[in-house]
Structures are given as structure tokens and as C-alpha cells.
């Protein structure tokens, strides 16, 4: 079940998505040994306290949340969380965030030459305090290129850029990331969403707009993966968005993903990644295929012959 993302070799095609495993130390019910990799929560230079509460609301087939980048900072991660992941031996993809290009760079620098970290993922949903007046970096194509380019030039590790689905031209932005030096892409970031408590005349989240995840966003994520993969079949894509079963994962692989990440499903069922990997394996056996890579691009287009 090994997958090779153009040099980033993972034992399984199923990873834990950013911010869904806590620090990795307290998740005693998630079997880290049986993950293809762990994407860390997004790391900033200094500790961040994150958003006020309420930070979450349940919506139909979805989870709406806004954490506001709460994390203990990259140095605390290296000191306290990484050693545990290294002992387990699971490949680590560190998620990089910041409020300025410089912060992204400084976080990137600190993550170099650390055994166990196999790649970086650039989170572009962080508020751009430098030039974007607090709007996310991914709201402006030029800022996407600047951040991804800066991180990729600084990093000796392969860099994956995580993009949302709903910006003006996803394929163009994906191309810009690759031109700027991204090794691959993670598709998609959460979808902006809102919930309202009419009884109390309040938004359900303090933020008040959050990110929607879970099965509700799966079709959006699939379309994003499909569109980008068709244009850039040589670029490794990690698909993420509402994957909770082996069949969901197979759909992403067929649409063009090289591997998948599991987020919300793992919050509900800590064993979900293991079940999903098992489901992929069963599907491969059934179709007599060798590896997950054999599924890529197998999506049959055009009309079903009758």
C-alpha cells in the first residue's frame, strides 16, 4: 500500500489531516502506527491562543469550526510533540503558518533537518496581517505565490501548498504554487461557512465565519482534486474533505489524488484512518490492482457504453 508522492514515500495512502490529532500525544485511541503520515496542527513562530469560544457548531453532515490557529508555537512542537511522533516512527508533515511572509520563513527554517519530518504543508488560510488586512493569504494569488515561493526556496524538504476550493481560479493558483516551487498540493482547505442561532440572534461561532468540514464538503473537494489533477497529472495531490470511508478515499484516488487525508472523521471515530486504509485495500483486491497509484486517472469519462 506504499505511495510515492514523487519522492515522499509514505507507508500508506491515508494521513491524519492538519489540526485533527491535537498534539499527537493525547490521541491514545488513534493508532499512529497505522497511519500513512501525520500532518501537524498549523505551527506559528510564537504560541497562539486562538479564537474565543464558541469555536464549533454542528451543521447538516458537517462540522463548522474556527480555532484561530491555537498552537504552542513551533519550538514547543519540536521540543514536546515531535519526539513522540519520532518514537512512533510515523512520517510527519509539518503544517506551516504565519501572519507575514517572514514568519512563514522563520517557522520553515526551524523545521529543517529534523528526523521524522518528511515534508512541509503550507497553510494559506492564516490571516495576512502584513498586506491583506487580516484576510487570508489565499485570498490573493500574488500572496499565495509569495508565501509558497519563499517557503519552497528556504526549505530542503518538499513543500505541499494547501489550497481552498472556492477562490477565483483554483487551477491557476495551483499552477502558481507549482511554479513558485511547490512539490505538491493539498486539496482542499475547509469551506467558509456560517451558522446562526436565531433564538439568541447570534452567530453560532464567535469568529463568526468558520470553516466547514466533514461529508458536506466532499463533492466540493472531489471537484477541486479532479480539476487540478486533470491539468497537472504530474503534480502529487493529497485529497482532503469529508473522507470517512474506504469508498470515499477510493473516489478521491480515482479523481486524481495520490493520497488522502482524514480530518473530521477522525474526531468522530479515532479508528477511521485504519478503516479507510482497509477499505482501499479491499477495493484494490476486488479490482485486482497492485497499488493505490494504479487507481489514479482510472476515472472513466464519457458515456457508459451500453
Amino acid at each position: 500500500m506504499t505511495v510515492d508522492l514523487n519522492g515522499v514515500v509514505l507507508p500508506l495512502p491515508v494521513l491524519a489531516a492538519a489540526g485533527c490529532l491535537g498534539t499527537g500525544r493525547e490521541a491514545t485511541l488513534v493508532d499512529l502506527h497505522r497511519l500513512g503520515g501525520v500532518v501537524t496542527m498549523s505551527l506559528t513562530l510564537e504560541p497562539r491562543k486562538g479564537s474565543p469560544t464558541p469555536r464549533m457548531a454542528e451543521t447538516p453532515s458537517g462540522l463548522l469550526s474556527w480555532i484561530g490557529l491555537q498552537n504552542a508555537g513551533v519550538e514547543a512542537f519540536l521540543r514536546e510533540d515531535l519526539p513522540h511522533l519520532q518514537r512512533v516512527g510515523v512520517p510527519v508533515i509539518a503544517s506551516v503558518a504565519g501572519s507575514s511572509v517572514e514568519e512563514y520563513l522563520r517557522v520553515t527554517t526551524l523545521l529543517q533537518n529534523r528526523p521524522g519530518i518528511v515534508a512541509l504543508e503550507v497553510y494559506l488560510g492564516a490571516p495576512d496581517e502584513e498586506r491583506g488586512r487580516g484576510r487570508p493569504f489565499h485570498a490573493r494569488p500574488d500572496r499565495i505565490s509569495e508565501v509558497v515561493g519563499a517557503v519552497a526556496r528556504m526549505s530542503r524538504l518538499p513543500v505541499f501548498a494547501k489550497l481552498p476550493a472556492l477562490e477565483p481560479d483554483l487551477v491557476e493558483s495551483a499552477r502558481a504554487c507549482v511554479r513558485a516551487g511547490a512539490h505538491g498540493l493539498t486539496l482542499i482547505d475547509g469551506v467558509p461557512g456560517m451558522a446562526v442561532d436565531a433564538e439568541r440572534l447570534r452567530p453560532a461561532l464567535a469568529a463568526p465565519v468558520g470553516l466547514l468540514s466533514g461529508p458536506a464538503v466532499k463533492p466540493i473537494a472531489l471537484a477541486a482534486v479532479y480539476r487540478v489533477a486533470r491539468e497537472m497529472p504530474e503534480v502529487p495531490i493529497m485529497g482532503v474533505g469529508g473522507i470517512s470511508t474506504g469508498t470515499d478515499a477510493v473516489e478521491f484516488l480515482l479523481a486524481g489524488a495520490w493520497a488522502v487525508q482524514v480530518g473530521t472523521a477522525m474526531l468522530v471515530d479515532p479508528a477511521a484512518p485504519v478503516e479507510i486504509a482497509r477499505g482501499i485495500l479491499a477495493y484494490l483486491k476486488d479490482k485486482q490492482l497492485e497499488s493505490p497509484a494504479a487507481l489514479r486517472g482510472r476515472l472513466r469519462l464519457g458515456r457508459e457504453p451500453s
Binding site: 485533527c20 491514545t28 488513534v30 496542527m41 464558541p54 464567535a206 474526531l267 468522530v268
Partner: protein, 290 residues
């Protein structure tokens, strides 16, 4: 933390609430008052997240050994589904989760205060305190008598029991806060424990601070995973040395906290992001003095 397939042994109404008893020996063995369990929802529904319930009882001995009881207000779609679940159905239960109440070592007189379904949490604690030879007095409250959690059981466990309801249908008309000063004096309370809505807990916390009574409270915040993974259920809590505060996860570092360390304004204020650092700095609160 264990994950089990737990059979529902009994399901019944308890006034405004609903109580389920499930067979979960691995969890019951370890469960302590203040801790909670999380229950998975049926996979084919549109509500995905697990529901979290404070443990009301965990039987380790006797005919009910290995069973676990929790209670809830069936107001949401998840809790309504659970209230309709039948005996012998199986639930996916994870627990025990979170940190439990600390028992006093030196002090003996404990006043336990609960409003609404907070009574479920507090009655488990009352039994454990009694088993340790402590004096237990209780104040229970709720909107109506239907919302006063198991007053007969409380009467049996507690040395004295005071009840307040907003509509006056049981005990005195008012809230638990109205009864608090009188009960503190009458019982010679040295330690206070509380559970219930955050507004009530905040009021109790102020009284405790004023009178320098060590206290612990089980707090509630909207929670997605319950296992420390998602960082949604945070509460701002002052560091022990007063050097600032941290947003701590109630599922992992709570739900039981020392209310003297909770930054209530920052947590519950209208504009929490703008809540200033108190001019006198953060209070230094040493560890549990009970």
C-alpha cells in the same frame, strides 16, 4: 480512555431529563466523578459528532457492577435519538474522559451545588465523598421541579438539602445562588463543588472567592471530539504562577477546574477578544488547597 461497544441496560425518564444505563465495565472501573463519556451517533444520520455526557454513576460492586449511567436533556437531535434508543441496543462509548474532581484530604465539610443536569455530576461526587467519610450538604436547583435532578436521592445522601426552583414548584422560589450564603453558614462548608450552567457557576465562583472557600467546578463548552484533538472546547485559565493565561481544553485539562483560575470575563464576555488583562495582573492561585 477506552472505547467499548456498550449494551443499553435500561432507559428511562427522570423528570425533564433522560437517563441511560449501559454495560461498560472497562470504563466503569476507572470512572471518577467529574469525568465524562462520549457516545457515537448512528452513522447514517446527518449529525455526525459524538455527544458528551458527564458520568452520573459508575458501579464497581454489587448487582450493577460494570454499569455506567449518564443523564441528559433530550433537546437536540442527537439526544432525542439517544432518548429513543431501546434497551439491549449497543452504543459506541469512549471514556472515561477528562479530569475528575479532587477529593479534600484535610477538610471535611463539603457543600455541593448543582443546577439542572449538573445534578447528575454532583450526585456521583456526593456518594464518593460520603464513602470517604466527608460531610456532604447539597443545594439543587432548576427551572421547575422537573428540572431538579433526583432530589430524593440527594436527600438520602446529604446531611442537609436545600432546593430552589425558578417557578417555586419545589423548595424555595429562586436560584441556587439565593440559597448559597445561608447554606454556607448553616453547614460550615470548607470546600465547595458545583456543576451547572456557566452563568450560575460564575456567580458561585464569586461568592467562593470573596469568602476564600476552595472550590472546584465542572464546566461546559461546545466540544467536537472530546479527546483533545480538535481544540474547540477551550476555556481561558490563568497559569499557576500568574504569568498569563492559556486556553485549556475542557476535555483534556478539564472539565473540572478551579474557578479562581478561570478568566470568566474573557470566557463569557460580550467581546471576549477585547477583554483586557486585569490592571492588577493575573491572580496567583496555588494548587488545590482542599
Amino acid at each position: 480512555m477506552k472505547r467499548v461497544r456498550a449494551e443499553i441496560l435500561s432507559t428511562r425518564r427522570l423528570g425533564a431529563y433522560h437517563a441511560l444505563t449501559v454495560v461498560a465495565p472497562e470504563i466503569a472501573e476507572r470512572a471518577r466523578p467529574g469525568q465524562f463519556v462520549s457516545v457515537a451517533m448512528p452513522p447514517e444520520r446527518s449529525f455526525l459528532l459524538r455527544r458528551h455526557f458527564s458520568i452520573h454513576h459508575a458501579s464497581r460492586r454489587g448487582g450493577w457492577a460494570g454499569t455506567l449511567e449518564f443523564a441528559f436533556d433530550p433537546q437536540g437531535q442527537g439526544t432525542r435519538w439517544l432518548a429513543e434508543a431501546k434497551a439491549h441496543q449497543f452504543l459506541d462509548v469512549i471514556g472515561p474522559l477528562g479530569k475528575a474532581f479532587a477529593y479534600p484530604t484535610r477538610l471535611t465539610n463539603c457543600l455541593l451545588v448543582a443546577e439542572g443536569h449538573g445534578g447528575a455530576t454532583i450526585s456521583f461526587l456526593a456518594q464518593e465523598l460520603r464513602a470517604r467519610g466527608k460531610r456532604v450538604d447539597m443545594i439543587l436547583g432548576g427551572a421547575t421541579q422537573e428540572h431538579v435532578f433526583k432530589p430524593i436521592e440527594a436527600k438520602r445522601i446529604a446531611q442537609t438539602l436545600a432546593v430552589a426552583t425558578v417557578d417555586g414548584s419545589m423548595g424555595e422560589r429562586g436560584t441556587v445562588l439565593d440559597l448559597l450564603p445561608r447554606m454556607l453558614e448553616a453547614t460550615g462548608a470548607q470546600v465547595l463543588y458545583a456543576a451547572g450552567p456557566r452563568e450560575t457557576l460564575r456567580g458561585i465562583a464569586e461568592v467562593c472567592l470573596e469568602r476564600r472557600i476552595p472550590s472546584q467546578m465542572a464546566l461546559e463548552e461546545r466540544m467536537a471530539c472530546g479527546m483533545g484533538q480538535c481544540f474547540t472546547c477551550v476555556v481561558p485559565v490563568v497559569r499557576k504562577d500568574g504569568s498569563g493565561y492559556d486556553n485549556l481544553r475542557l476535555c483534556t485539562e478539564g472539565p473540572v477546574l478551579n474557578p479562581a483560575r478561570v478568566l470568566w470575563d474573557r470566557w463569557m464576555g460580550e467581546q471576549p477578544a477585547l477583554a483586557p488583562t486585569p490592571p492588577e495582573g493575573f491572580p496567583v492561585v496555588r494548587s488545590w488547597p482542599g
